[in-house]
Each structure stands twice: as structure tokens, then as C-alpha cells.
Symmetry: none
Subunit: 187 residues, 4 copies
DNA sequence: AATGAATGAGACTTCATTCAT
DNA sequence: TATGAATGAAGTCTCATTCAT
């Protein structure tokens, strides 16, 4: 039941925004009355926080696991490719509505999950740093800027995917190719 | 007065989120009482919509103007550079709070400004298409994906700029360089 | 079990007030869940009523017993002394939390126990009447007023005893002395 | 309006207890809707606190004023008499419902007004101390106990006055006489 | 005997909005 | 133009109570 409530809340936030995610609305989606939710959660905040944490933690775990699972000798491009694939498909995957949630939350609540998000960013930071160290990536990058810039681009994509109808693989490929080679014609 | 109200509302949304932007809060910021706002606007929605429109329209006008102002023979890289600079500095510029607003709005309201946003995206679409046509950009790009991906990355940056302390010029430069040449070491 | 529940409820009322005495709180104190209380009591009101009754009935029984136990020829001052002692010590005694309860209840519930309370007042009324009849107390008293006045003073004392650190014996002695002789210097 | 709301709330507390004093109920009594009360008060607590303060402060002011107004050479018995009269009549006076309020409040809220109450008790403490110093009152009193004992008796009286139909003057007279001379027959 | 789960009523509170002044 | 005052809808939350297990 706890999970069903979390799912319901996440779905509403994604579909109609944080404001529309009232206790009544959540309850209705799981065929309950608003008050009953309090048997399972102490407060609305607790629900939201749990959604947030589950979302980022799952994402972190998947990407970390993916990177760790690669052969020692994997090239930077392959590592990047794998990580991006997992990241993007997690954002879009059917049940992973959790990931969508973040961008709909009011600042006060967003701040709470900051630490976890920084930990996630660190994962990418390390990935890039590895590429630079091995000479596979240009060493003139300010990773402090590059990482959020890159993830920012990635995170916005699902919003537009619906319109363009692209698959998450296409998106991942585009992102990796663009990031590695740029769009400038080879000179 | 109308403008002062819009400014106040925008500032609150940016700083504290859409939820915190109550009529009372807005009124307080312009030294009025909530009811008085209704002399200037028909409803809260009208205020928000106007903020949104003003924001995108200003942004559109600036970027379009910048591109138009370039010499006929300007190279793609220069066009891109100029456009990115204007876009980023608008996002960060002191009074251009309007741009921040969008991401804080609930979906229902977001949808309303969709058309204008698509018009803005078209601007970039054309820019890239020009680059491809002239052979200055690789012609294997799916612009339908590339544009939102690129703008998405750009739009997220201000959020992180505060932490890293980078200037908007640095960010613009990073974005253009990365987009054009990629981060892969030259082969 | 019934008694343990009554004790728990009484304790909460005394310590934190009637409002804090929720079924959940009572249940927690006897290591149960709220619903289980309904196996033992028909309603929350039944619990409260029973506390009230038990309280006054115990008090009544003790004081009545004490008076009855005195030798036929006991003087008024001694009767009074004995009665006050029992009354005060009951108010303060460890397990006699019941007595504290009354003052925390909402009027609706208070009214219900009125009859029993009047019966208790009658006990004192009779005591005083006896003193007047025997000439040991001044015969110009309006007992209808004197009794509540006297008991009122007595009942408030525990509240202040905690602060002053006096024992119930001291209080009883003060009350009796003051009542009998007054505080005016002898003329 | 503010005052009418305070009056309404006080009246409900006195008549039906703190629990019955809901925002809806108060609003109904002043012909409003619950939400409207928040235009005048920040919260329910603010209402209650204000009632409490106004009550004790008024009481304090009146009694202090009365005592101060007595001629320098007034005798202890007269001072006491005057103070008791004011105290009792304040408790009972038509519009002074405020004073009734205190005894109906839950402990948490009671505690808040503790300081003011202690200040009031001090007034009586000083009065008695004066009597002892001048030799008009027996000097064997523990005022720390006597004051609350005496005021406790006094405060309970209104509750019973309704039943017995006594006037506040009668009550005051009884209290003073009893306190000064006791009820023991003169020996 | 006891509990997990749910309910419905109702509590306080906030907010966009209205309107007479 | 602006405000004081009010409203109605809705929000989060608490609580006594019920009932199948």
C-alpha cells in the first residue's frame, strides 16, 4: 500500500504538477479517503521526500552499477555511452516516473535532496575526469560546469521526446555523439 | 504599476517558487493590499501568463535581433556564439528574472505558453539548419532533438552557476566550444 | 485491563490535559492499539465517565469512612481535621490521579457527574452543620456558600504545592487552622 | 470587531469549554465564516492568549488600583475586604467573562500566562505581608500556601453561586469574615 | 483479545477573489 | 486607485470509531 501511494503521488506530480498533488487526489487514485493516507505516512512531506529519494537513489544505483559492470579496459566513449543510456532510459522508463518528479517540486523541497543530487553529479564528474586522465577527452574542461551543463541537457529531453517521438536510444546516441565530437563539420 | 507588479511576482516565483507567490505576497512587495491588484489585473493567472509571455518574447526579440544584426557573411560558429551569449546572459541578467520563471510553473500554466516557446525554438532550429546548409555543421543532426537538448543544457546552467561562481561568458564559451568540437580529444 | 486503561487515561488527562487524552495516546500507554480499547469500553466517553465516578466515589467513601470511624464524642475540630487530611491526601496521593481529572474536563462531561459531587458536598455540609449544632462552630454561616468556598480552596492547593514543596499534612493543618481560627490576630 | 471576536470566544469557552470553542463556532457567534477570523487574528492561539492576558491584566489592574486608592491609614481588614470585593465581583461581573476562561484551558496554554498570574499572586502576598507586619494578622502564616489556598477558594465560588443564588457581596463578606475570624466559636 | 486498515467528520488554516467605500 | 473586510473553496491533518481477520 505504501508503494501504491507513492506511485500515485508521483504520477500526479508528473502529470499535473506539484500543486495538483493534494492528499485528496492521491487518495482518490488509490481508492481511499484523504485521512487514510496518514495511516501509512506521517505527512505529505514524507511522501514527497520518499519519492524524491527513491528516484535519485535508484538512478544513482543503476548508473553506478552500470559503470562498475564495464570491463576494466573499456574506452571512455563506451563508458560514457553506457552511462548516458541508463540515465536516459531511467528518465523515460515506464515505472520510473519518480525521476520526472524533481523538476516539478517547489524550491524548498528541492533543496532537501541536494546532497544526494550532488553525489550523483559526482559520479559523472569522476567519469569525465577518468576520460581526461586517460587522454581520451580533451583536458581543457571545467568539469564543474560541464557536468551540470550536460546533465541539464539530458534531463530536459524527455519533455521534448513526446513531441518528436524519438526513442531513448536515439536520444542517448545523439547526446554522446554530440558531446564527444561536436556538431562542427570536421576540419 | 502594472510592470512593478509583474516584477514583484516574478521575483517571488524565482526566489521562493510558485506556491509562495500569493496575491498577498505580491501585493506586499509593491506596498499594496491584495485586493488592489485586481484593479490592474483580472486574475492571478493573468499576471503569471503575462510574466511568461514577456519573458519569452523579450528573449526571442533579443536573440532574433542579435542574429539579424550580424554581418551577412558571419560564420556559423560566430552566429552560434552570439546567440548563446545573449541567451545565457538573459537568463542570468539582473532584471531578467522572467526567464527563470518558467521552470517553476505548474504544467497547466506551462502549456499555455507553448506556442511562443516553439517559436523561440524555431529560431535556433533555423540557426542550426543554416549551419548545416553551409556545410559548417555536420549534416547528420536530428535538429528536432538537438535543439531541445542544447537549450536544455543551457537553461539548467544558472542553477549551478551560483555554486561554481562562473560568469555567463564562461558558460557561453563552454557551451559553444563543446557543441562545436565536442570534448573528445582530437584524433 | 479495564483498570489499567482507566489509569492510563487519567494520567494523561492530569499531565497533559483532556485534549491530549486521545484513544491512541491511551492505547500506547497500555501497549495496545487504539481500536483494541473498544473491546473493553463502548466509547471514549465511557472511559472518562468511569474515571470521574471512580474518583469521586473513592473520595466519598474514604472521607465518609473516616468520619464514621471517629469516636462518638470527637470534637468538631477533630472531625474537621480528619476529614481535611483525608481529602487533601487523596488529592495528592500517588495513585489518586482520579481527583485531578475533574478540573480538566469539558463542561458537558463535568455536568454528568454533578449528582455525585453534590452528594460529596453534602458530607461536608453535614459535618459543618454538626459543628454549628453543637456550638463548636459559629452559627452565622451560610453553609451553601461556605462549603464550596472551603473545598474550592482545598482543591486548588495541589497545583501550588509542587512549587512550594509543602507536604499534604502541612496543607491540611493550614486549612483547618485558618478555617477555625482565621488569620486575624486575636483581639 | 476584534473585541467582538474575543468576547464571542470567551463566552463559548465559559459556556461550553475549550473544546467547543472552534473557529467555526466563534465565527458563527459574530456572524462570519471561520476563515474571516484570520483577517483579525493570526491564529486561534492568538485569540486565546489575548483573552487570557486581557483577563488577568484587567483583574490585576483593578485590584492594584483599589488597594492603592485606600487611605494610608486603612486597617488590614478593610484592605482585605476591598481587595476581595473587587476580585470576586470581577469574576462574576457580566462582561468579565474573561476571568472564567482560565480554568477551562488545557495545561499547555495555561502555562503561558503563568508569569502574569504569579505577578497577581504577589499582589495578595504583599497585602497579607502588610497585615502581618502591622500585627493585624497572625504572624504564623506560610503565605506561600495561604495565598493560593485563599484565592483558590475564591475562584471556585462563582461556579456555585449560580446554584445558591448568592450575590458577590455576600460571597466577599463570607470570605473575609471566615479568613479573618475563622468559623470556630469564640472561646 | 487484539490489530491493521480504513472512514467520515471536523479541526485549523490559506488563498484567490469580491465589493462597498 | 486603493483598501478593509469578508467569503467559499480547498488544503493538511487528527481523531473517535468500525470491522474483518
Amino acid at each position: 500500500m505504501r508503494d501504491e501511494i507513492l506511485d500515485a503521488a508521483a504520477e500526479i506530480i508528473v502529470r499535473e504538477g506539484y500543486d495538483a498533488c493534494t492528499m485528496r487526489a492521491v487518495a482518490a487514485l488509490v481508492d481511499m479517503k484523504a485521512g487514510s493516507l496518514y495511516y501509512h505516512f506521517r505527512s505529505k512531506d514524507e511522501i514527497v521526500e520518499e519519492i524524491l529519494n527513491q528516484g535519485i537513489e535508484t538512478l544513482y544505483a543503476r548508473v553506478a552499477e552500470t559503470i562498475r559492470g564495464l570491463p576494466q579496459e573499456a574506452r571512455f566513449a563506451d563508458r560514457l555511452s553506457a552511462a548516458v543510456s541508463v540515465h536516459v532510459s531511467s528518465l523515460v522508463g515506464k515505472d520510473q516516473t519518480y525521476m520526472h518528479v524533481y523538476e516539478h517540486l517547489p524550491p524548498i523541497i528541492k533543496r532537501r535532496s541536494r546532497k544526494m543530487r550532488e553525489k550523483y553529479a559526482q559520479l559523472w564528474h569522476d567519469l569525465f575526469a577518468g576520460g581526461i586522465a586517460s587522454g581520451e577527452a580533451a583536458n581543457d574542461q571545467d568539469l564543474q560546469l560541464l557536468v551540470p551543463y550536460f546533465l541539464g541537457g539530458l534531463n530536459r529531453v524527455p519533455e521534448w521526446m513526446r513531441a518528436s517521438g524519438a526513442s531513448s536510444e536515439q536520444v542517448a546516441k545523439l547526446a554522446v555523439a554530440t558531446l564527444l565530437d561536436g556538431i562542427g563539420a570536421r576540419r
